[in-house]
């Protein structure tokens, strides 16, 4: 098991390498550069800016500068810098801030949002799925299935807008612009709900399907015939076994929460890093794009690993060679 975990963690490194290379090259195929603004800057200025930020070096050199084993500048090669030195580079969009600062400012907020939405999704999704399965083909099932199908069929931006209009504007109960958690907690209610609608539906669907499958198992029948109470059967035998396959979708769910947050952050103006994402791409802020892509890639890879390990932990039948 330990070797498996170590092996998986080592695999993350080449994966990250490929992700960074692909992102880097794609980024540089986008026509224009970070200085393409509404008003065209004079040639000389662009050249000086490129020189200052090392954007006139050959692509391979730029990549090496970013990663950091070398520092190539106008033909001179020196040691170190870049990621290996913990420096993610300057931001081309926010001239007075470095990428490190931007990420530092926003990452906590984004992770808080994602975590809270995740907890809400599990807290509501699991019971919903269990109730649906237990009331199979009766009202609880239809109601829960209806809710979950609605949840996965409504795009995030639509449900967010509806929530804003209903609760923020018409009813006026909740504020619609979220600031940091500590300054105004109520402002986070809407974004968290909006973000968790899709995962709730996913978790509920999978839990329901899994519970239905477990209902057919022999050990449930044996427990019934032994006279064990329904409640005990459900809690002790069914739920624990049904949860196993559900854990496998938790990985993609977490990935969605991490990445899907940027639509939410955009609509609700949450000051996290997700909001920076799309704008950094369209504004070709190379430093930010690379850093955020790496962040997402690492998060997804690590979360998948955690889920796989958890999966093996929960289901003793699984052995990783």
């Amino acid at each position: 098991m330990l070797t498996y975990v170590v092996r998986r963690m080592l695999w993350i490194i080449p994966v990250l390498f490929f992700v960074s290379v692909i992102t880097f090259s794609l980024m540089h195929t986008v026509p224009g550069g970070p200085w393409s603004r509404e008003k065209k800057l004079p040639e000389a200025t662009v050249r000086l800016l490129n020189d200052k930020y090392g954007l006139d070096e050959p692509i391979v050199a730029q990549y090496l500068n970013w990663v950091g084993p070398l520092h190539i500048e106008d033909g001179s090669v020196a040691c170190c810098g870049g990621i290996l030195a913990g420096d993610l580079g300057p931001s081309y969009k926010y001239i007075d801030r470095s990428v490190n600062q931007i990420i530092g400012d926003g990452i906590l907020t984004t992770m808080q949002l994602g975590l809270m939405a995740f907890l809400l999704s599990v807290a509501i999704g699991l019971p919903l799925g269990i109730i649906a399965a237990l009331g199979h083909n009766r009202l609880p099932d239809y109601a829960a299935t209806f809710i979950s199908v609605l949840g996965i069929s409504t795009p995030t931006f639509v449900s967010s807008m509806l929530l804003i209009v209903v609760f923020g504007v018409v009813l006026g109960w909740l504020p619609v612009n979220a600031l940091k958690w500590d300054t105004d907690p109520t402002a986070w209610i809407l974004p968290i709900i909006a973000l968790s609608l899709f995962p709730i539906a996913q978790v509920a669907r999978y839990t329901r399907a899994s519970m239905l499958e477990v209902t057919r198992r022999d050990y449930v029948r044996t427990a019934h015939s032994k006279g064990i109470g329904q409640r005990t059967i459900v809690i002790v035998h069914m739920v624990r076994n049904a949860l196993i396959p559900v854990v496998t979708i938790l990985g993609p769910v977490l990935a969605f929460l991490v990445t899907g947050s940027f639509i939410i952050e955009y609509i609700f103006s949450v000051p996290g890093i997700g909001r920076e994402y799309v704008s950094s791409i369209t504004q070709r802020d190379y430093g930010l794009i690379m850093a955020l892509s790496m962040f997402y890639a690492v998060t997804i890879a690590v979360l998948n690993l955690v889920v796989d390990v958890l999966y093996a932990y929960i289901d003793p039948r699984i052995r990783y060679s």
């Binding site: 069929s153 795009p155 997402y296 997804i300």
Partner: protein, 321 residues
């Protein structure tokens, strides 16, 4: 026993269910699932709307009835609103530029249907060969292909699609089909991984069956075994995966259109319709409501259809006629 002999003696045929084979059985099970039928009907409706709809409407989706909007105090027309001096009525109203909503919704249907078809075509085209090769050849080829899928899987989907969209926006490829081809291919490139894993899993277990052993013993070539024996037996889960993958693709395209990537104006993807109508949400909700409902209905019907197919093709349900 006596009954049987008696029946045989009487020459009466014993009651037997006509054997209809795997697909016949599955089809009958599918028919019985009312939700799946509803979903299927709506899918057919969307397909008809997408293919012949635009030929039937009096206006094109880009026709601007500016005079009508101006005469309406520069406000978009609401559904069925009567304007003096005009003999026609816009059944679903117009947008702020005077374009008929119904026609634009139909264009959206066209786009969504294309998304469904093209993306799944890409997924099948890449996923099946990769999965089959990994399963059949095993060993190093399997590891290599699975590592590639790991990299693609770890890559944040939306980022890749956005990068691809922005990078190739100005090229010929990006302009094909009003920017749609780019979106389809991009979405397809990020979605083929689950299909490859599915096919690989299916083929791995099918590889050990006796009929494959027999085929190998007779000397059937590798390619024939895969194409004529393994793949047809894996068709069930593949069909389900394709159907259930369509809502994800439509959702992805809608989200991209919402943030402004992919479909170029004046084409009317449902996502871009929502984005256009966002500013008028409070006063003219019909601009957002109709495309939002359209997206939800499309997603719901494909989901029901996919669920129905999965239940119908699941061999474990054999006992439950």
């Amino acid at each position: 026993m006596t009954e049987q002999t008696g029946a045989i003696e009487a020459g009466v045929a014993l009651e037997r269910r006509k054997s209809t084979g795997l697909w016949g059985d599955a089809f009958r099970r599918l028919i019985r699932n009312r939700l799946a039928i509803l979903g299927g009907l709506f899918v057919i409706f969307l397909a008809l709307l997408a293919s012949i709809g635009p030929m039937v409407t009096p206006w094109e989706y880009f026709d601007q009835h500016t005079q009508e909007v101006i005469s309406n105090n520069n406000r978009p027309l609401t559904p069925m609103q009567q304007v003096e001096g005009l003999d026609h009525v816009h059944v679903l109203g117009t947008d702020n530029l005077g374009r008929d909503m119904l026609s634009r919704l139909m264009d959206g249907a066209r786009i969504s249907m294309m998304v469904a078809l093209v993306v799944q075509a890409v997924v099948l085209f890449i996923g099946i060969p990769v999965g089959a090769a990994a399963a059949w050849f095993g060993g190093r080829i399997d590891t290599f292909l699975m590592r590639i899928t790991d990299v693609v899987y770890a890559y944040p989907d939306l980022l890749f699609i956005i990068l691809l969209g922005v990078a190739f926006r100005e090229t010929f490829f990006g302009k094909a089909l009003d920017g749609l081809l780019l979106v389809f291919v991009a979405i397809g490139l990020t979605s083929w991984v689950t299909m490859a894993r599915l096919v690989r899993g299916q083929l791995l277990s099918l590889k050990e069956t006796e009929f494959v052993e027999a085929a190998k013993a007779i000397g059937v070539s590798d390619r024939r075994i895969v194409t004529r024996h393994l793949l047809p037996n894996a068709l069930g889960p593949i069909i389900v995966a394709v159907t259930l993958g369509i809502p994800t693709a439509i959702l992805a395209e809608a989200t991209l259109a919402f943030i402004g990537i992919g479909v170029q104006a004046p084409r009317a993807s449902w996502g871009s319709l929502v984005a256009d109508g966002q500013a008028y949400l409070r006063s003219f909700p019909h601009m957002v409501l109709f495309p939002a409902i359209a997206i939800a209905l499309a997603l719901i019907s494909f989901t029901f259809l996919g669920d129905g197919l999965r239940d119908a093709l699941d061999p474990k349900l054999k006992g439950k006629q």
